[in-house]
Amino acid sequence: MSSSPILKVSDLSKQFGGVRAVNHVDFKLTKGELLGLIGPNGSGKTTIVNLITGFVKPTAGEVYYKDRKITGWAPYKVVRLGVARTFQMVRPFYQLPAFKNMIIPLYSPRVKGLAGGKYGDRDAVALDLLEEVGFERDSFVAYKPASVLPQGYLKRLELAKAIALQPDLLILDELFSGLSLAEVASIVPIIEKLRMEGKTIIMIEHRLKELFRIADRIIVLNFGEKIADGKASEVMESEEVKKAYLGTEAG
């Protein structure tokens, strides 16, 4: 690795009361990489994302983004540097049409800054972005209120909201959960296209089969600790990983 990492997490820990949600986790991420973050339920995947994006302040350790220390920054400041995330539980503004849901990220100071201080026609940009993630332009689906959209479209809307911020680092928290095989298959090309554009992506997933097909690297967490880090095939060979997964799945 010649260039400096886009994201560096060093010795990151978070304690909630007596629970060590994240325990001394280290990893680096180079530009353009797609990292899969996996592990059994409660292994601290989402907490790590919350620590990076500033929703939770770490007990110890540091987060560097593009050589800048962002540990404990407020979420909106982290976003302004170019880190966007999606949430596991999608909670759109149900009474608003899908494209109006896009207005809030498009109102962000980051978008304004990148566009040279002008917002432009937000509605038009919203419709373009939604088309990119699979809201068909010739149907009325982008104009429907979010409350009537199926889960697949809500997840895409969540993805579009993150893309709207034009991030360099995109963190997708269980984007595939609750989707059918066909829906996942239709979202995978969108993620691959984002990679071609040079975006660095972290994906938290339980759908390992789909994840392994697109991820460059996998990090496995268990009880807040990193137990494996490497290519998908290598990682699943590790005894510790097998134990962690079999232990929960058998129970």
Binding site: F93, I104, S108
Partner: protein
């Protein structure tokens, strides 16, 4: 065979949803009528009412302003129990300016509006992070605290208050100042809440994490909403100071906190027009019931209970639905 009631948008609503679809006077009237109603209604009312009821209209408008100010905050996810803070802040600022420097009401009211909004925002800045009931508690306590400070330190006239303050030039100026302010607040703020800025405010109420993860500083937006709501409330207070030509401890009274909430609930929250409508029902009602003496509060309370049970969505939402949609029974097979 079971029967089910369904609601369908009226054809005229569908056709007039986009402005380019307007092609007849009927459709234009359909859109214009609800907007013209408060304007024409208020101007006509001011002519036909007796002097006593003009005073009532004046107080109705002040409470309507407070209810609108409450609704702005509620739409941003801040449930305030202390509109009296905004009201009292504006009232005292205007009173002090008039008392010490002898400034005319035409200067004190605008200055108190802006500075009152600013002071209230600064006072509540430390608690912007609080959500739900915690924020409400603080807003409830602040006016009660300020009134005790005035009482204990005897500043600004202490318990006596400041009297003999300047009045507005005439009854008509008095009435039209508040009517114009009310209409400006109603239409201006409705427009604001419909803009993308308003969308962000409503987004904070709905899902603040999602707004934060869009790179938007929600505390800055909450502070702006507080300033807007605070200014509206402070205007009402400053104006009332010059109507009564007096300012004293009663401006921090609980009435100014509770009645706007009741008005918003009866009228229908989230629309700004609803809370205003609520004030136009509740305040005159309490005037009519004045003849009942002690029983007045009982009837008033009963009316509130009946309304919240029978029409929990609020009168405005009910009327708007009837205006835009019709209902019919359809048979469904199960």
């Amino acid at each position: 065979m079971k029967r089910r009631r369904e609601r369908i948008d009226r054809g005229i609503k569908v056709r007039s949803e986009d402005i380019f679809a307007l092609c007849s006077w009927r459709e234009m009237l359909y859109l214009a009528f609800p907007r013209l109603l408060p304007i024409v209604g208020l101007i006509l009312l001011s002519f036909v009412l007796s002097i006593y009821w003009q005073k009532v209209l004046l107080s109705v408008s002040v409470f309507a302003l407070l209810a609108i100010s409450w609704d702005i905050l509620a739409q941003t996810g801040m449930i305030s129990l202390g509109q009296a803070l905004f009201f009292g802040m504006g009232a005292y600022l205007a009173g002090i300016m008039n008392h010490t420097w002898g400034l005319s009401p035409f200067i004190t009211i605008p200055v108190a509006t802006v500075s009152g909004g600013l002071f209230c925002t600064l006072l509540l800045l430390p608690v912007l992070r609080l959500r739900g009931i915690y924020f409400s508690m603080v807003t409830l306590i602040l006016p009660l605290m300020l009134v005790r400070i005035v009482e204990a330190t005897k500043i600004f006239g202490g318990t006596e208050g400041l009297s003999g303050l300047g009045a507005l030039p005439s009854r008509w100026v008095e009435l039209y100042t508040v009517i114009l302010a009310l209409l400006a607040a109603l239409f201006g703020l409705r427009r604001l809440m419909g803009s993308d800025f308003g969308l962000v405010l409503k987004g904070i109420n709905d899902n603040d994490r999602s707004v934060m993860s869009a790179g938007i500083n929600i505390y800055w937006f909450k502070a702006q909403a507080l300033f807007i709501a605070g200014s509206v409330g402070a205007f009402a207070g400053a104006y009332m100071t010059h109507v009564y030509m007096f300012v004293g401890m009663p401006v921090f009274a609980l009435d100014y906190s509770i009645l706007p909430i009741a008005a918003a609930v009866v009228g229908g929250t989230g629309t700004l027009a609803g809370p205003m409508l609520g004030a136009f029902i509740l305040v005159p009602l309490s005037e009519i019931l004045r003849g009942l003496g002690g029983l007045r509060i009982v009837f008033y309370g009963l009316f509130l209970v009946v309304f919240t049970v029978a029409l929990p969505e609020g009168i405005f939402h009910y009327i708007a639905r009837k205006y835009h949609q019709f209902e019919r029974w359809v048979e469904v097979d199960t």
